[in-house]
């Protein structure tokens, strides 16, 4: 197990270098430059000032030099400063947005798994019944409905018509003066709709996985044996079948980890949530290379770690992998 782990960890290094190299080239291949975005179509900017700006950002140097200077900084854990007009350190920009995205995604993820697993089990145990069909329709509606449309409808209904929930943002104006409990309650109210919308869409995939995996397990000989022993259906399903049926979901969970730091642009824009999705989108659109690279590198790193964790979990859950 230790050698397996060590090998996997060493493998991460060349992978990271490869990823950074590819991302760096791709983002520079995209036409347009940060300077262009800031000054284009502005008659008050002369050509000299453009050139000056390019030089300031080091964009006049050959690409490989730019890459090495970036990697050099990265090795010292310095992601550089943003090219946008605020010139702030990339780390700072990511830091102020990461907690929101992360907590939102973790809650949504828990909710997704918390709902999808029981839905999958119920659908499997009541296969082809009205319950199964009803649940299937329900989760597929979630899958098919466009997020922005559903979000706007909910906003109008709960926010404008009923006035139960706040429409957007994270806090009510003036919530700074609330007591701690009131403050948290206020924030929780703001999060209800976004989390609901975020989770609804992913229920279909997860619950269908759970259903088919469960069906697969229920058909196995050892389940027949368990039933033949005279165990109650409850014990058979939740003790014997469920454990085995959960294995594929571990892989899915591993894949979800990098997704935790990424946000959806559409969704964040609609609910005015200052998350990573907006940051990434804006920096790509304005060709803010340091920010783009910073987010990509962190994302790549988490993806690799996520895969590693999934593999380790697998090994823990399944002796065949551990000893294989």
């Amino acid at each position: 197990m230790t050698t397996y782990l060590a090998k996997r960890i060493i493998m991460l290094i060349p992978l990271m270098i490869g990823i950074s190299l590819i991302s760096f080239s791709v983002i520079h291949l995209a036409p347009g430059e940060p300077v262009e975005m800031q000054v284009a179509m502005n008659p008050k900017v002369s050509k000299e000032s453009r050139e000056r700006l390019r030089k300031l950002y080091g964009l006049d140097k050959p690409l490989h030099e730019q890459y090495f200077s970036w990697v050099g900084k990265l090795a010292r854990f310095d992601l550089g400063r943003s090219f946008s007009s605020d010139s702030r350190p990339v780390v700072e920009k990511i830091k102020e947005r990461l907690p929101v995205t992360l907590s939102l995604n973790i809650i949504a993820l828990l909710l997704e798994f918390g709902l999808a697993i029981p839905i999958g089990i119920m659908a499997a145990t009541h296969r082809d019944s009205w319950l199964d069909k009803g649940l299937t329709i329900f989760v597929f509606i979630g899958f098919a409905v466009p997020t922005f449309w559903l979000a706007l409808l909910l906003m109008y209904f709960f926010g404008v018509k009923l006035n139960w929930l706040p429409i957007s943002g994270l806090h009510t104006l003036g919530s700074e003066s609330y007591g701690t409990l009131h403050y948290l309650w206020d924030m929780a109210k703001h999060l209800v709709m976004p989390i609901m919308v975020a989770s609804f869409g992913s229920l279909a995939g997860l619950s269908r996985y759970m259903r088919s995996s469960m069906l697969n397990v229920i058909g196995q000989d050892y389940i027949t044996t368990a039933r033949a022993k005279g165990l109650s259906e409850r014990v058979v399903i939740y003790k014997h079948a469920l454990r085995n049926a959960l294995l594929p979901l571990i892989t899915l969970l591993g894949f979800s980890i990098p997704g935790l730091i990424g946000g959806s642009v559409i969704f964040e824009s609609i609910y005015s949530i200052p998350g990573m999705g907006q940051l990434f989108y804006q920096s790509v659109m304005s060709r803010d290379y340091p920010v783009v690279m910073g987010i990509l590198v962190i994302g790549a790193f988490l993806t690799l770690i996520g895969n590693l964790i999934a593999d380790v979990c697998y090994a823990v859950a399944d002796p065949r992998i551990r000893h294989g």
């Binding site: 995209a30 036409p31 347009g32 430059e33 262009e36 975005m37 800031q38 000054v39 284009a40 179509m41 502005n42 008659p43 008050k44 900017v45 002369s46 050509k47 000032s49 453009r50 000056r52 700006l53 300031l56 946008s84 007009s85 605020d86 010139s87 702030r88 920009k93 102020e96 947005r97 706007l152 906003m155 109008y156 926010g159 404008v160 006035n163 706040p166 429409i167 957007s168 943002g169 994270l170 806090h171 104006l173 003036g174 964040e268 824009s269 609609i270 609910y271 005015s272 949530i273 200052p274 998350g275 907006q278 659109m285 304005s286 060709r287």
Partner: protein, 541 residues
Amino acid sequence: MSAARWFMLLHLCSVLFLVACSQPVTQQKPAGAKDSKPAYGDAIVEGTIGEASTLIPILASDSASHAVAGQIYNGLVKYDKNLNIVGDLAESYDISADGLTIVFHLRHGVKWHDGAPFTSRDVLYTYRVVIDPKTPTAYAEDFKQVKSISALGAYTVKVTYATPFAPALASWGMNILPAHLLEGQDITKSPLTRKPVGTGPYRFKEWIAGQKIVLESNHDYFEGRPWIDRYIYRIIPDTSTMYMEMKAGGVDLMSLTPVQYARQTTTERFTSRFNKYRYPSSGYLYMGYNLRHPLFTDQRVRQALTAAIDKDELIHGVLFGMGQKAHGPIVPGRWAYNPNVKDIAYDPKVASRLLAEAGWKEKNSDGILVRDGKPFRFTILTNQGNQQRLLTAQIVQQRLRFVGIDVKIRIVEWATFLKEFIDKGNFEVVLLAWNISQDPDMYDIWHSSKTNPGELNFIGYKNSEVDRLLVEGRSTFDIEKRKRAYFRIQEILAIDQPYTFLYVPDALPVVSARIRGVEPAPAGIGHNQIKWYVPKDEQVY
């Protein structure tokens, strides 16, 4: 929508998005008719789709930053509600008879938000940092015309120019920065980019990234303490969300889209809670022809294209009527606008005749005009993310098809659009908009020396008379002389049709009825913001 933010051609002084040009300002009946006495207190929440990038305005090129900075800083001069230049931090100014020297007499007793006095040192510092090659600013150009600048004591500044330069005075609307906090530092890394210190009506309180920027009223403001205590910018990137926030009471001031203005905000319930305003914005949409392309070298062809397009239909279909036809590069209502220019009216028959004169006589089996065996076919290029432009392009496509021209539409992401198409002259027709400054100087857009890659006369327009007039117009302070030059330019452009000028959309702000004292004027509604108030019994924050 987001791409529109980049179309910035603003002087630093015309910062508010509420700034517009003169001409009919209409307002729905004022809601909350019973007027109570002004009272201090309450807050105003403005919804903004973009977040400010930096609050040192010379470093910013986005309108969101300038909007916030406009509340915090002042320039030496500003535009008043009728768009005349008046003193701001400068109490008065004198321009020498030859137009080469401007002397600013600064206000006494103005204090920075941290209590330090405002003096000529701040003006000199701001000038020096703007022209400093190490400062990444987009606003150095106007100030490079300055030959010398000096302080005659703590409250007088003398600026000398090498040649008379008409936009010079307005350029001093640039926000003045505090020398005592910035001198000797790297301005891009200054804490003031996030925590600005200015002289303006509102002082900075807090900025929560991605959520809001909160300003507090400056009790010592030299024009008097603003009635409303706090000014809050809420960042809401989605316009539909912002609209719902407003209906739910979370936003007091925002810009409506034409469809929202015309269709969704007409109920009694809405109009009793909000006041809508409507006046021409300071920009126009146009179709620009690449004049280096053989299809568009013939003036008659360009005139024909204009005659084939029904501008009224565009305004009706795209803007729900919330706009007016554009005839030239100056928006109606400005002093430089020539009302006598004869625009080419919509008339497909005239279009066909002009095309026939230019050799486009026969049509092929698809009904497309053909000359020398080649069909009349081109692509309209526009940028991604702007629904109005896409709709406009589609209607134009339809209209041109009627006279036998086959038009394709291509939408390209903004960065690519600039780099690969505009800068390289690699396009046939573009659909774009200009936001124009209060000063009519448009040298950079039309002068033949500005046709190099990356410059703004990207369509390659060359007319020696226009060149001469452009120089004439910017090198005198005499309004009558300038007027003559710009009037003539408009006449020439109306005949040449290097662009088909399409329309000037209206600005459509809406303000909560709780807020009183809003006074629409040629400059929009933002000019008297410090006099806005909320009666005591209606305050909510």
